[in-house]
Symmetry: C2
Subunit: 322 residues, 2 copies
């Protein structure tokens, strides 16, 4: 029979982070049928990592391969280049230089492999399986240790001429502002709206306001989680830390909206646990910096995907992308 | 014979500005076979304007229609919406409200009609006939009385979910900065890098520096043209006016590059007559605000199209857009 039974087709989704790598077998409905993980930073050589990944995945592939067809492998990784299939100069991964990752994966697994950066993968996942289902124009912002982004326009990811488009975390929101700990740029969105940025803001503000509850923690326990605890107890300084973060985020979002006029902006990642403490000021400052024709049109929403599965779903979505 | 002879197919391109409207008959090679113009602001009612346009165009259409086939009409106009075929709330046009312009044109000319905003039309013209031939990812910035933009990604114009994408002139480059004379926003690119913005900068700087040559002109003669004259005579204040303008432009361009990673940024419009006085600082400040992976990759170039024809070519390009 030549008809293809979609329910039998699956993809392997792999999400590579600096510490952990997660993988899963995903079907067309975005269901993770099986999953597992391994340590990224336990492998100094990328070939060893891929061998180990194969050892982990092989039993699952055999189990599912008996009744299902593997269409390919999708990989989300920092600094991954869709066009070239490479991972390039990723500061948080153990493997240095320019790595032909897709090629190495295909050689080992004998399956087609596509790679893209982790935020792009998350955007694809949202479009196929999450809060952006049916949307053709939206922007995904991941607020974690860093700030990543994936931009969908006309139903497609924007890769740019070289595959590196969508580095919105590094756009400047305050010229001459806070120096970024890694890039050295001044006043980037990531310097304010990442978990790292929030920690810096919190340490500065608690030093200025000795009465803040934030001063009850030792220096190394100040982070977005403890700021959230204090904000929930109505500490005005902790609330101000998030308000300031939300303002900077909102100002940046206004610029993004006037670029690609998305239907929605999806927020994702650890920082969104702060909820309305960040979302409300972000919305306010986005709207007030927009031209009237853009106002009250753009939905600002949190991701609907289960965080543990989202990255795997997003990576697997690469396999079925048009 | 059913084969289509491309050399016989033509489009009518119309560029509507606040004062003048230009039109031309254009072939597939981007040659303007015939052209003309009329006053936009002489017609208080849009129906009267379209009747007058028809009277002007009709003799040319008859002349060319004998041997050529008209595929359609493309219109570039401020605040024009590609999806809806409308011109909406355009502050510089005599016709108020939301005008179903494409529909009115089709009713009068009996030809399909597409509209888009003038900067989008210019971007299409550059892609088909100008400096961006063969490029799939570039950004067009028009620096005139205002600052407009058209963004091409994956070979297509980015329209956004509502048709209003690409308002880069209104993105904020200096939060809390110069108040825009019309929108009221603070620190937008247009407030600094438009001809109007340059005039404001020049008036401020000449007041601070009595020795500047700029003080030899009466107040109402200070504009980008007279600043250019003084800069050519090596007046350091006039040069500084352009340097500051270029810096703000370059800072904005860096943010745009990190959004869509274009192969080139094309600059167009009256302000580019300032040449290297603006281009060099723009390039410098663009590069220094980019992440290393984007540096020394993006060409910053002036439009190649003849300015008188560019708008007509761009509008006609709408007809043949995929």
């Amino acid at each position: 029979m030549s008809l293809i039974d979609l329910s039998k087709q699956v993809a392997l989704g792999v999400d590579i982070g600096g510490t952990n790598t997660k993988f899963g077998i995903v079907n067309h409905r975005g269901e993770v049928l099986d999953k597992g993980n391994l340590k990224t930073d336990a492998y100094d050589k990328v070939e060893d990592f891929i061998d180990a990944l194969y050892e982990h995945v092989q039993p699952l592939m055999e189990k599912h391969g008996a009744v299902r067809h593997f269409d390919g492998i999708g990989v989300g990784a920092p600094n991954a280049n869709y066009y070239k299939g490479t991972i390039e100069l990723a500061p948080n991964l153990p493997w240095k230089g320019v790595i032909p990752f897709a090629e190495l994966m295909t050689a080992k697994f004998n399956l087609p492999c596509k790679v893209t950066n982790d935020a792009n993968a998350a955007a694809l996942g949202e479009m196929l399986f999450g809060a952006a289902r049916g949307m053709k124009d939206f922007i995904m912002i991941t607020l974690g240790t860093g700030v990543g982004s994936g931009i969908i326009a006309n139903g497609n990811l924007i890769y740019g001429h070289d595959g590196f488009a969508g580095e919105l975390g590094h756009t400047i929101v305050k010229p001459g502002g806070r120096k970024h700990w890694s890039t050295g740029s001044e006043g980037s969105l990531e310097a304010y709206a990442s978990a790292t940025g929030i920690t810096i803001t919190a340490k500065k503000m608690r030093a200025e306001f000795p009465e803040s509850m934030l001063n009850q923690y030792p220096e190394d326990e100040i982070n977005s989680k403890t700021v959230y605890e204090c904000a929930m107890k109505e500490d005005p300084i902790a609330i101000e830390v998030f308000r300031y973060t939300g303002q900077k985020l909102g100002e940046a979002l206004a610029n993004f909206v006037m670029f690609s006029s998305p239907q929605a902006i999806l927020l994702f990642g650890g920082v969104i646990k702060a909820g309305d403490f960040i979302l409300k000021p972000a919305k306010l400052h986005m709207e007030r910096n927009l031209l009237p024709i853009f106002r009250n049109k753009v939905k600002l929403v949190f991701s609907e995907l289960d965080e543990a599965d989202a990255a795997i779903l997003g990576a697997s979505a690469l396999v079925w992308e048009k």
